[in-house]
Symmetry: D2
Subunit: 338 residues, 4 copies
Amino acid sequence: MIVEMNKGASDEQVEHVVERAHSYGFEVQLNLGTEKTVVAILGGNTGKVQTDVFAVLPGVESVTRVMKPYKLASREFHPRASKVNVSGVEIGGQRVVVMAGPCAVESEEQLMETAKGVRECGASIVRGGAFKPRTSPFSFQGLEEDGLKLLSKVKTDLGMPVITEVLDTPHIKIIAEHADILQVGARNMQNFALLKELSKLRHPILLKRGLSATVAEWLTAADYLLAEGNRRVILCERGIRTFEDSVRFSLDISSISVIKHISHLPIIVDPSHAAGHFAYVPSIAKAAIAAGADGLLIEVHPNPEEALVDSLQALTIPNFERLMAELRPIAEAVGRYI
Amino acid sequence: MIVEMNKGASDEQVEHVVERAHSYGFEVQLNLGTEKTVVAILGGNTGKVQTDVFAVLPGVESVTRVMKPYKLASREFHPRASKVNVSGVEIGGQRVVVMAGPCAVESEEQLMETAKGVRECGASIVRGGAFKPRTSPFSFQGLEEDGLKLLSKVKTDLGMPVITEVLDTPHIKIIAEHADILQVGARNMQNFALLKELSKLRHPILLKRGLSATVAEWLTAADYLLAEGNRRVILCERGIRTFEDSVRFSLDISSISVIKHISHLPIIVDPSHAAGHFAYVPSIAKAAIAAGADGLLIEVHPNPEEALVDSLQALTIPNFERLMAELRPIAEAVGRYI
Amino acid sequence: MIVEMNKGASDEQVEHVVERAHSYGFEVQLNLGTEKTVVAILGGNTGKVQTDVFAVLPGVESVTRVMKPYKLASREFHPRASKVNVSGVEIGGQRVVVMAGPCAVESEEQLMETAKGVRECGASIVRGGAFKPRTSPFSFQGLEEDGLKLLSKVKTDLGMPVITEVLDTPHIKIIAEHADILQVGARNMQNFALLKELSKLRHPILLKRGLSATVAEWLTAADYLLAEGNRRVILCERGIRTFEDSVRFSLDISSISVIKHISHLPIIVDPSHAAGHFAYVPSIAKAAIAAGADGLLIEVHPNPEEALVDSLQALTIPNFERLMAELRPIAEAVGRYI
Amino acid sequence: MIVEMNKGASDEQVEHVVERAHSYGFEVQLNLGTEKTVVAILGGNTGKVQTDVFAVLPGVESVTRVMKPYKLASREFHPRASKVNVSGVEIGGQRVVVMAGPCAVESEEQLMETAKGVRECGASIVRGGAFKPRTSPFSFQGLEEDGLKLLSKVKTDLGMPVITEVLDTPHIKIIAEHADILQVGARNMQNFALLKELSKLRHPILLKRGLSATVAEWLTAADYLLAEGNRRVILCERGIRTFEDSVRFSLDISSISVIKHISHLPIIVDPSHAAGHFAYVPSIAKAAIAAGADGLLIEVHPNPEEALVDSLQALTIPNFERLMAELRPIAEAVGRYI
């Protein structure tokens, strides 16, 4: 950490900073500039201490981190890219993994028709919400446990791994019995109680980026999941909140290469929730693969007009088929395959 | 809802929209413009239906809400301003209610010293976190149940109501035994599982605005809390995420008058988490009262240098005393008192 | 426009709205809902009138546009995609056009070395700033007229069209003598005096998106350029301001498909200013082409360490060569070529 | 500046950083941490150099500023608060200065009626736009020179100073002949050509904050105005662009105390353009004064229904009178007067 003292800070004030650094076991080096003193606080664990610890001291103007606030998710900690194996499907390898399915599980027919459809087009994992986070209490809230059972049936009948969202700690146990990947939604990225409980599992966890989370905050949330030894964490960029209103969320395309530089975790992209409209999904999906994403999470519904949730962003099965055909040459152009 | 058809939409497409509206029991009126047809969909419950239901139909260009997505929190639903009684302290009345205390409960001495100090200065409710939502898993996570007991002691010994945060559904029961107000933090504003469980209580609930929640989304989250008949919901503006980095969050001062226009719920302001720095707290606190806020939630610590959490934003007790003296004439200037 | 009246608005208030609509020559249709009256105001020119004209009337709750605020830039106005011919290079056709060169023209050697380098790699237009918009008055402000002459020399010697930025109306004349494309920078997107003067030219104009401009505002700014009959307008997405700080600006990848849907103008992407760091430029450039962009604007410098402006985002010539090799198969994967 | 080297950066790479620092005349101090080397670059002028100069060097991970990018506008440079005298009206003193008038000058009657009305209520400066920056080319663009003459007439007849906006460098001369304060609009805050020309005047300049400008960028733009010796610069907070859509812009209330801490320049607030709706103007205006603003810029129109520009945000004269009566006790509560 770099502590910049005020112009005119006293020697006692500088000494106070030094003592506090020593109390944490950190080394200190003083930089006596012509106008200001700058104290460098050094040590491998400075990332674990809040900057406030120094900023609150008298005579301090500002404190800047050098060590990142996250550690376990960083590439410095784990230089090689991690791959996450999901019941035989590898995420983070050469294959671009496509997870597809309806926003919400609505019925056996709907789920099975979609799952078969997307499998034929080349998707390798089925998505479907059983517990749904809805902005309004008057909206359909999901089939809950019945939905989980339908997902299990897909898994058994079609041999495809399934991913579904977990909203609350008491549901973790039952969801873990049915799902191959447990998904933490954007609105729960900093639901720390949920993250802590999930960190005790050994299942793959998909961590969606919060609507207003910086990349650094996202990786710090990933540290919660990694803290108990689970290494199977997958990141999912799904758009951030900005002032632009032609789409639901602005997909942060640069986060893909930033994550690849600073983290070892695989990253996939959800173009459906970002766009909020099926017409914009293909363009974003193609961009994601070209940018280096390890996979996609796409909403598909056999009959979007009748979908109970987020119908506007779902692709029909023929539209999904067309998109998959367009994605293949792009994956090849970046040295991968679908 | 107003459904705008594409230029050149067919009569069949318009008819399809009309049929769908009828299937929900809505009335319809067609507006045949020179360039486009516009379908007005009318009825008191249109706010409960997603716009996607119509947007997904062929030939539709856009759908605009007329009815708001929230209902129970709206002033149309409940024209008179609501007041929330918290163990004898009324929020939303003529008195500006100040809640103050440490970010985290650290020890009996710390909590008791702070509570006595803020009471002497005129605060009427004590705040203190027992379960702490921390962005990093390496940070202090709160005293948990021991912290709750200390809050209960303050309540008994000093006769002051207490407010504390609830992070997870399994904690609700025990927190409800100790706290007068249960606080939902910004990062949990759309933790719908938590909101649903809380809606079953009859305790006052303080709902902080999410970091990237619009006012409309905030009121829709309040609808979750109001849906089971609990009427004691208090809103708390605490700053939103923007590009500005001189403060932690940008306090949305206009939300106060917007909420007063469109909602009946009382609204208080947390200047501490918005500013992130004690030096900026007084200016924001004064602005909040002048703008019409019903109260303040302020962090105070007897010795911020030693605080375990967010030390930079805490006021010392003498600084809090000075602020309270500055706030009184402003409250009077807007026809209220502290 | 759709005018929603307050619950309880009087007949006189509704009548007042109707009269005002008639005074503009618009048609009106009343929608008498159970709770509220909604007035639809119809006519091809409603997009040219501010919503305030109705919102200010007593009894009005809200006003929503149906017609867009922009017209000339819209696809409804001009259904076929426009192509812009720049001295023989077509932008918006099947070829993805790459414009490359230094941020600022620094010397004849620097400019000529870069221009030759990027031409060999396949770039077809040379970029270079002569008048530089710098956030600090203490920074290098460009070679000004001498820089323009060097650009003209490149044009003559290498036969490549050149693009350069115009900052101020008095410079337009001289820049138009030297440049093939005049660029309006992001910070001037709503410098309406500049836009109005530029609309009188018949040169191609590149209009960068403003840092905080919505897509609709961007197209409305384009309407200024199109208003006097110049049809040669090219849009350039260069990132918007968000809370994310790992890059300088967040490139809005979805704007590409949104623009392709609602506008006929060609759109290119500037990955260099968005990323702010050379390491992130290739990933964004690849994504842009996959998403459907018509071209790229990339900063290249023979020796970034010595660049006078924005050195961190410039690619070296070998790095640019590598990027061009990576871009070609992606262009082919989307049915285009470079 | 603090240069953080990569883990594993070589001695040559560190040496390269040191040499570059020396080449600028800066001092250097090395901090050899256990994991990383950190180079502190010291000297009073480091704020004038781009961080890129070091960030581009091999082995560098990040560069952080200690000196701010702005200098002349900083309180470190000029510790006492500046007061700006405008034809006898002092801005930045104990009096809260209210500037009021129509968005656009429309006619002599309209301007004179408004000016007399606001003077009677206690405003001391008249505002009115002659050259109007309009987002759409189809909107009313202002009376231009005729508008300036009307402003001069007000000045002569009523003895009130006037403020009007300048959009383009060729207009500066004529506007400077008529106006007491020249206003730079939000969309021109980084129109550097305009700022440079204005810096040659000795008139007071009001610099509105850009829609997406950080406080640091705003002060750096102010440095342009101060660079040639003009000291009469007034800042104006007018709201920033965020995701919130219930108002036009989110007024950044914290910017007032931030500016008071880090700059010596006076700051006023424009609640009208932030709110975009007259109903929200009073609450924001009151908050601004309580927060410590030195003045207000408010839109008033004798008949908003007939206003040609931004009619929804204008106060009627009776509403302005009521607001002024409400503002007086708040000004007194913070030790000032109106």
